[in-house]
Symmetry: C2
Subunit: 115 residues, 2 copies
Amino acid sequence: MYERKIPIDLDCPLRLTMSLIDSKWKSCILDELRYQAMRPSELHKALPEAAPRVLDLQLKELVEDGLVEKTIFPELPPRSEYSITSLGMTLIPIIDAMLEWGKTNKDLFERKHGK
Amino acid sequence: MYERKIPIDLDCPLRLTMSLIDSKWKSCILDELRYQAMRPSELHKALPEAAPRVLDLQLKELVEDGLVEKTIFPELPPRSEYSITSLGMTLIPIIDAMLEWGKTNKDLFERKHGK
DNA sequence: AGGTACACCGAATAATTTTTCTGTATATGA
DNA sequence: TCATATACAGAAAAATTATTCGGTGTACCT
């Protein structure tokens, strides 16, 4: 696990919230899990641009933060499932607002490439 | 200027919105500018943890994205001022929602260090 | 003249995050 | 038996972002 050298001031409510969702795929994951639980492989199909390993790592953090819950079925071959928690659900209005903002303003940023 | 090698899919409204505000200080800057325009030095006093150079760079991107506006006063020594645009203002509800979420749930994350 | 403050910027470095690569183990279907 | 799929994870590499350092030029105050 990576050990931060420059701590983030989590007493700032804005930075706290941001720190939970601002990595590349977390908001997408929450958006996918909002309606149904998904297995890692399903999530990867839903977000093909994200490598399985990446989803794996970000899911683990989401679980640590209590936004997502993991269920392991004691089967072979292994099966597991991730679902959003009630705490995670409370972030959905924020995700929705960002989705809405993006839809409304997409024309303004049609040129932009990577960034 | 840095040239991205892995482009971000800005057709995804969520990722588009995220890409505008998910760098370390942007949401804080927008939050500071929401009520009054500020000079770079004032902004640095308001956000002492952010080095002036960092604010400088992020302000430049915010201006490029049309979320912030820069006014240069033709004086010596130089004076300039940054203010939020009406487009930037439309992000404030999202910032507010994140602030609110952070305040509501700060107890749950009291332990967390950096991350 | 010397110290300070202002805004700004290029470039190097450091920090962090993301991605890729490789390997574990088991079961299923061809 | 061989290829495939499942979930998972360590470690290295690459990509991206943040920070530091040094320098520009002007004016103000002492």
